[in-house]
């Protein structure tokens, strides 16, 4: 499948010229904008919301707590003496005023901005974004995620300074809120002689973004330029650059051929899988040699790619070396297994659940069983390693494993493993 890309028009609501420019751009026959980020508290917000209510596009909320005035009445930690939000500096990226913000006030303002959106646009936002990605700060992130879960909508990946921000980004994954993986801020400066070679730059952009994993988002500032805009924003003339791109058919063709253009609406969380299997109906027992073919079959069907497939000869060796295996049985059918290698110290080696039965807590049951066994054997800690930035890390965090290191190139060039450890005594 082609690489998925969300293209977001930034700052809808900033002022009339920006609103008009965005409308012009989305109606252009070569428009590749899929998402519109609406500002709730800017001079043109009410006008933009009126326009948005009749648009078919996916409209997200661009939470804004660092420019203009709050929508809620009492948020003393967020504002200066004149009642404006305390200022940040995007050039030096001085966001130190966030230190003074109380989480309670952030939460109150977030409620007010979301309420404003629903009231004025007539529907819930397609996603929660923040104007300068303030939600890369944990103080903003936590209320943000709560709200996104409550509304059942995705969030933009919480980068900081538009760069990777692992702690916050993994928190979003861990909380199960759908999100993007990377975000690219506009095309910034086109290269070429003093910056003008649209075709070449587009090729470079496509190459760079295609190499990124997961869903990417491109944020484009769009707008007509007038005096008001010059007063409101340091990003002014740049907003008119998009029009030159739109009028270029070749660029439109390249973009649409290279990406599957989607919106935040397309990554809304699906309704939760119902827990259909009662834990009482699952039986976990120590495994023996007769279970080898079950292990091989479960590994094939666990939904993860594997560097190598289990074979009977390999399993025999592990068994002979003393590796302990447990198997989960549901209605006489083996559906999962776990193992620990205690040769030197306790290392959780395999944990697989048949994909058909995932989401029922079977992996957690297997993990608990094996940790009890490790403790019984007299170990105070257990460790394991998994692919870096995989959902397996989230699973380990949930089971109180701590990240203790990185195993470079464990799975091949640039494919690192993260090493995790759990203290069993503290349980």
């Amino acid at each position: 499948m082609a690489k998925q890309l969300i293209v977001t028009a930034h700052d809808f609501g900033l002022c009339s010229s920006v609103n008009d420019g965005i409308l012009y751009a989305i109606k252009h026959p070569n428009s590749f904008i899929t998402e519109i980020a609406l500002l709730p508290n800017a001079p043109g917000s009410n006008e933009a919301a009126r326009l948005a209510s009749s648009l078919e596009q996916s409209i997200s909320l661009s939470f804004n707590i660092t420019t203009f005035r709050p929508l809620s009445s009492h948020v003393p930690t967020l504002v200066d003496e004149e009642g404006n939000f305390k200022k940040v500096d995007i050039i030096t990226w001085n966001f130190s005023v966030l230190e003074q913000f109380s989480e309670e006030d952030i939460r109150r303002e977030l409620d007010a901005q979301v309420d404003w959106f629903i009231e004025h646009v007539g529907k819930k936002p397609s996603a929660l974004l923040s104007r300068k990605n303030e939600h890369g700060d944990p103080k903003v992130l936590i209320p943000f995620i709560e709200k996104a879960k409550f509304l059942g909508i995705p969030v933009r990946t919480p980068v900081w300074q538009w760069k990777e921000n692992y702690g916050a980004q993994s928190y979003v994954t861990q909380e199960g809120v759908p999100s993007t993986n990377t975000v690219v801020l506009s095309f910034l400066s086109w290269k070429g002689p003093n910056g003008y070679n649209l075709e070449k730059d587009m090729e470079r952009f496509i190459k760079e973004v295609t190499e990124q994993e997961g869903i990417s988002e491109l944020i484009v500032p769009v707008g007509f330029v007038d005096e008001e805009l010059f007063q409101l924003s340091a990003v002014n003339w740049e907003r008119a650059q998009l029009f030159s791109l739109l009028d270029n058919d070749e660029i439109y063709r390249k973009l649409t051929n290279s990406f599957h253009l989607i919106s935040y609406r397309d990554i809304r969380p699906s309704p939760k899988k119902l827990k259909t299997i009662s834990h009482n109906s699952i039986h976990i027992r120590p495994a023996n040699k007769n279970d080898f073919s079950s292990f091989i079959s479960i590994q094939k069907h666990d939904g993860f790619p594997h560097a190598y497939s289990l074979q009977k000869s390999r399993l025999q060796k592990l068994f002979d070396r003393g590796e302990l295996f447990f198997i989960a049985i549901y209605q006489d059918k083996p559906i999962g297994f776990v193992s620990v290698d205690c040769e030197i110290r306790a290392r959780i080696h395999f944990l697989c659940v048949d994909k058909q039965y995932t989401g029922n807590g079977i992996g957690s049951m297997l993990m608990k069983t094996i940790l009890q066994e490790v403790q019984k054997q007299g170990y105070h800690t257990a460790h394991t390693f998994v692919e870096k930035k995989s959902s397996k890390e989230v699973f380990l965090q949930k089971h109180s494993f701590q990240l203790i290191g990185v195993y470079h190139n464990r799975y091949g060039p640039n494919k690192d493993a993260t090493i995790w450890e759990i203290q069993l005594d503290k349980k």
């Binding site: 400066s189 330029v225 010059f230 002014n236 003339w237």
Partner: protein
């Protein structure tokens, strides 16, 4: 002394462009405006000249009437026009614009700056020189931008102009396209560094705001807003002054020297 004239081209294109040019003139480094006739924003431009009592206004010669053609002339249109017109035809077109300029502003133009440097074409230059000589009006140096994007030297036209005794600058710098503002600033400053004492230079800019009307009328869009930003850039201004330049106009640059 090094004199530098900074001209805003296309005054009169649209109201939105006019508004940006006025800001660049009043608050920025622009010293001289170049007014185009028979264009969608001409009337508004003339009002702005009077309202703000601006004296340094020259003519941005188009040789076509926008209100008749309904569109602007591209390079190809000019090439076609020149191959099918006599000097007399071109002279007539030019005169219509000169007369209208005087009628609307009540003054003579302070300079003659033909669109796209079309006076790099000798037939056009010949046609314009008659009027310029009659009223002693300086003219932009006729570099060869009609053929290429770059300001290539144009020996024949430049020599022709010099021999006619009309005033023109020694240097002309411009950077129309480009989205890397830092690089554009560097380009201007490195070129200005090469200017010798006693020489007169011109920089041309296209400041303006951007609206829907502009998108329909012109291929220069964000570039205008970019040039407005450049005009208002205090550091850019300081860097030019630090190179020993004095900001001048087509009227006083030769007196200052």
């Amino acid at each position: 002394m090094k004199n530098l004239i900074i001209v805003a081209d296309d005054f009169g294109l649209t109201e939105c462009v006019n508004k940006g040019i006025i800001k660049a003139y009043k608050e920025g480094v622009v010293t001289e405006l170049s007014l185009q006739l028979f264009s969608p924003g001409t009337e508004n431009a003339v009002q702005l000249i009077k309202k703000n009592a601006i004296n340094n206004v020259g003519i941005h010669l188009l040789l076509y009437n926008w209100l008749e053609t309904g569109k602007n002339f591209h390079r190809d249109d000019y090439v076609k026009l020149f191959s099918t017109s006599t000097t007399q035809d071109l002279q007539k077109r030019a005169k219509r614009e000169f007369d209208t300029f005087q009628k609307l502003t009540g003054k003579l133009p302070t300079h003659i700056i033909p669109q796209y440097n079309i006076h790099g074409n000798l037939k056009v230059l010949d046609a314009i020189c008659i009027y310029a000589k009659e009223h002693t009006i300086p003219m932009r140096i006729p570099r060869a931008v009609l053929i290429k994007e770059h300001l290539n030297e144009n020996y024949a036209a430049e020599t022709f102009l010099r021999r006619s005794g009309l005033r023109t600058t020694k240097h002309l710098f411009g950077q129309v396209l480009g989205s890397n503002l830092d690089e554009i600033k560097k380009y201007f400053l490195s070129n200005l560094k090469t200017v010798q004492d006693g020489e007169i230079s011109e920089i041309y800019l296209h400041p303006g705001y951007v609206d829907k009307q502009l998108l329909l009328l012109s291929s220069l869009r964000y570039e205008r807003a970019r040039d407005l930003t450049l005009s208002l850039d205090k550091n850019f201004k300081k860097s030019i002054e630090a190179l020993g330049f004095k900001f001048s106009t087509y009227t006083n640059a030769w007196q200052n020297n």
